[in-house]
């Protein structure tokens, strides 16, 4: 697939520049693996009839973790979209949080079980609550960055979207705002070449979403999203640019969606099994694992340790969430307005 080898603005083998220790690299890999296997567990449970809905990160893990590790999660903000499982884990949400959300248990942290799974949000972790209409977060992200600038903070704001969502008007409006005021926003497009069933060539007439950056007077980057280290190298440049006040970046990672759009979709209607099988050859988990092994950052033993930890964590999360109660029916009527008389 030609699409999986996108044009690059920098070489992809600058491990020294990345400034990552082998320990960092293994943490990246572990977060990817955790996201992948959590996602796989959710599909199993969905197919077993234990929950009605799952929407996947599978294929996007390296892109998200590469971006995440370039950020300072103690002060940076995320306006996510529904595939950002690996990113929100990196921002501090836990497998238990995710499984509670997946099973719609009482007090699950994203929405107290009001939203479908995949609609992330947590003030504690600086993840702005997200919705299903795609693109709205692109118009909000400049506001988050603007508030930080007004207070003199050097916060960077990342907002995610698929390439399909970039057709929305709010995407244009958000890019325009951020570039006018040189706001510290990374517009993170995870281009998996499909908007549910519609292929990229019917979504846009261009190869790279980041080509649009020039029209906004901002930096545009396209990176291969299969290798977390590659993504990190590029993301760090974008984050540093934003943090020093040199403006936003339209940051595109080329990825492949390994699953149907969601558990309610059947991708056999619009893409061949051969095409999907070819994505497995560039599976970000295996690509990144190999990269780490080539760098001497991951031994087989370490890999196994990580896999054991991930599995234990997912089992714990599953048990925890399954034992948790559902929300009380009365909670359908709470959280509409702040308590009467409260003031900000």
């Amino acid at each position: 697939m030609g699409r999986t080898e996108p044009s690059r603005t920098a070489t992809a083998t600058r491990d020294d520049v990345a400034g990552l220790s082998h320990d960092d690299m293994r943490r990246m890999y572990e977060t990817m693996l955790l996201a992948r296997q959590l996602d796989e567990r959710m599909w199993l449970m969905n197919r077993a009839g234990r929950a009605p809905f799952v929407i996947s990160v599978q294929g996007h893990e390296a892109a998200q973790v590469g971006m995440g590790f370039a950020l300072d999660t103690s002060k940076d903000w995320l306006l996510p979209y529904y595939r950002d499982l690996a990113l929100v884990l990196h921002f501090g949400m836990t497998p238990r949080d995710m499984m509670m959300s997946f099973l719609a248990r009482k007090d699950e942290p994203n929405s107290r079980a009001k939203q479908m799974p995949g609609h992330y949000g947590s003030r504690k972790h600086r993840i702005v609550t997200s919705s299903s209409p795609v693109g709205t977060q692109f118009a909000q992200a400049p506001g988050v960055a603007l508030a930080a600038r007004m207070r003199g903070e050097d916060t960077v704001v990342v907002t995610s979207i698929g390439e399909g969502g970039t057709a929305q008007g709010d995407v244009h409006e958000g890019l325009n705002w951020a570039s006018i005021y040189k706001l510290a926003v990374i517009f993170f497009v995870q281009n998996n070449h499909y908007a549910i069933s519609v292929p990229q060539e019917k979504e846009m007439a261009i190869e790279n979403v980041s080509d649009r950056a020039v029209a906004y007077g901002m930096a545009g980057v396209t990176v291969d999203g299969a290798d977390a280290i590659d993504v990190y190298v590029q993301a760090r440049e974008a984050v540093e640019r934003a943090r020093r006040g040199d403006g936003p970046t339209l940051f595109e990672a080329k990825v492949n969606r390994l699953t149907p759009h969601s558990s309610d979709d059947d991708d056999r209607f619009y893409r061949s099994r051969e095409e999907v099988a070819s994505y497995r050859e560039r599976d970000p988990i295996t690509v990144t694992a190999q990269r780490l092994k080539d760098l001497g950052a991951l031994s087989d033993e370490q890999d196994q340790d990580i896999r054991n930890r991930v599995k234990a964590s997912i089992n714990d999360a599953t048990d925890f969430a399954e034992a948790a109660p559902p929300p009380d029916p009365e909670e359908a009527f709470t959280d509409v307005y702040a308590p009467e008389g409260s003031r900000v």
């Binding site: 506001g143 603007l146 702040a338």
Partner: protein
């Protein structure tokens, strides 16, 4: 106490809250150098600078979107939509985002934004500078909607709206900006959201209204009361969501007759909701049909003076309805 125009009261309210609280800033089309197309924000740029008085691009969805984002990160934005007629591109941000932030985050995120917007007709603004589409917003749980016409209420409700933890649509009748004057204290104060105001006390009939038509209603009631041995209670709703149900029911239980007057078209309008509340909770007290005076069922206000006049109601129309209802 000093008397001020509606527009002066709103400007003073904005100025004082920006002085008092650094989290407050304004954004919108032409709000800076030009001071707004109606001059509501005149002088604010000079006083507070470009960081807090932001001339936005001509793009309503992101005016609201940026306000939402800034509010999520601790600010208290006051966005201006230049005419309510132009708010439609921002509907997704208002209805799917701002109104649902609290609910969809289980109370983790509020959305303390104010969206100010001039509305209403009678100024030769035609289809796209005259609309009264408040019912689109009052139908949306999670939003608050206020529409003060008295300068005192406008200043106080604006302060309450800015510090409200939830999104507030603040509607300003543009015909009233320089036509309605009233006593306004110099110091800041709150008028609570969700409370109606009785502007004329009476016992024979209740008129419920807001906005410019409240002015017409007061005149019609005063004229009628000068000539007839009867008293009419006139209620200014001020807040359209939440609605002051208690004030409405209490008055109706006293008078037994209700006339609802609004500029927006009748079908699906807020008058229908008010009628239903009365029918559900005060049916036994009614001595006559609930009467509504409302805009016609045409897409929007037409331009030519005779057409605009035909669209609008005035105190004579209201007077005629009063007499008809009084006969029951």
């Amino acid at each position: 106490m000093a008397t001020k125009l509606l527009i002066e009261a709103i400007r003073e309210g904005l100025m004082q809250e920006m002085e008092a609280d650094e989290r407050v800033f304004i954004l919108g089309e032409d709000v800076g150098t030009r001071g707004g197309v109606f001059r509501v924000t005149e002088g604010l740029l000079d006083k507070f600078g470009e960081m807090r008085v932001i001339d936005s691009p001509l793009a309503e969805s992101s005016i609201v979107g940026v306000a939402i984002g800034a509010a999520a990160n601790g600010m208290l934005p006051v966005a201006e939509i230049q005419f309510l007629d132009f708010i439609h591109p921002a509907m997704d941000q208002i209805m799917n985002e701002a109104a649902k932030f609290r609910y969809r985050s289980g109370g983790d995120f509020g959305c303390p934004i104010v969206i100010r917007s001039p509305y209403g007709g009678g100024i030769h603004g035609a289809l796209y500078h005259s609309q009264s589409i408040e019912a689109l917003f009052t139908h949306t749980p999670g939003l608050k909607v206020v529409a003060p016409i008295d300068p005192y209420d406008a200043k106080g409700l604006l302060r309450a709206a800015i510090h409200d933890p939830d999104p507030v649509l603040f509607l300003e009748h543009k015909r009233a900006y320089r036509a309605v004057r009233g006593e306004v204290p110099d110091e800041p104060y709150d008028v609570p959201i969700g409370k109606a105001k009785i502007v004329r006390e009476g016992s024979d009939m209740t008129i419920i209204s807001w906005g410019w038509y409240l002015q017409e209603s007061i005149q019609a009631a005063d004229d009628y009361m000068q000539e007839q041995d009867a008293t009419i209670e006139v209620i200014d709703l001020r807040s359209l969501r939440p609605l002051d149900k208690d004030a409405i029911l209490e008055s109706v239980m006293k008078t037994g007759k209700v006339l609802i007057v609004h500029e927006a078209n009748k079908f699906g309008g807020l008058g229908g909701e008010i009628s239903a509340i009365i029918a559900e909770d005060a049916f036994a007290y009614l001595d006559g049909p609930i009467v509504r005076i409302a805009g016609p069922e045409v897409p929007a206000m037409p331009y030519a003076p005779p057409l605009e006049k035909a669209f609008l109601h005035d105190k004579d129309d209201i007077r005629a309805a009063i007499e008809k209802l009084a006969a029951y």
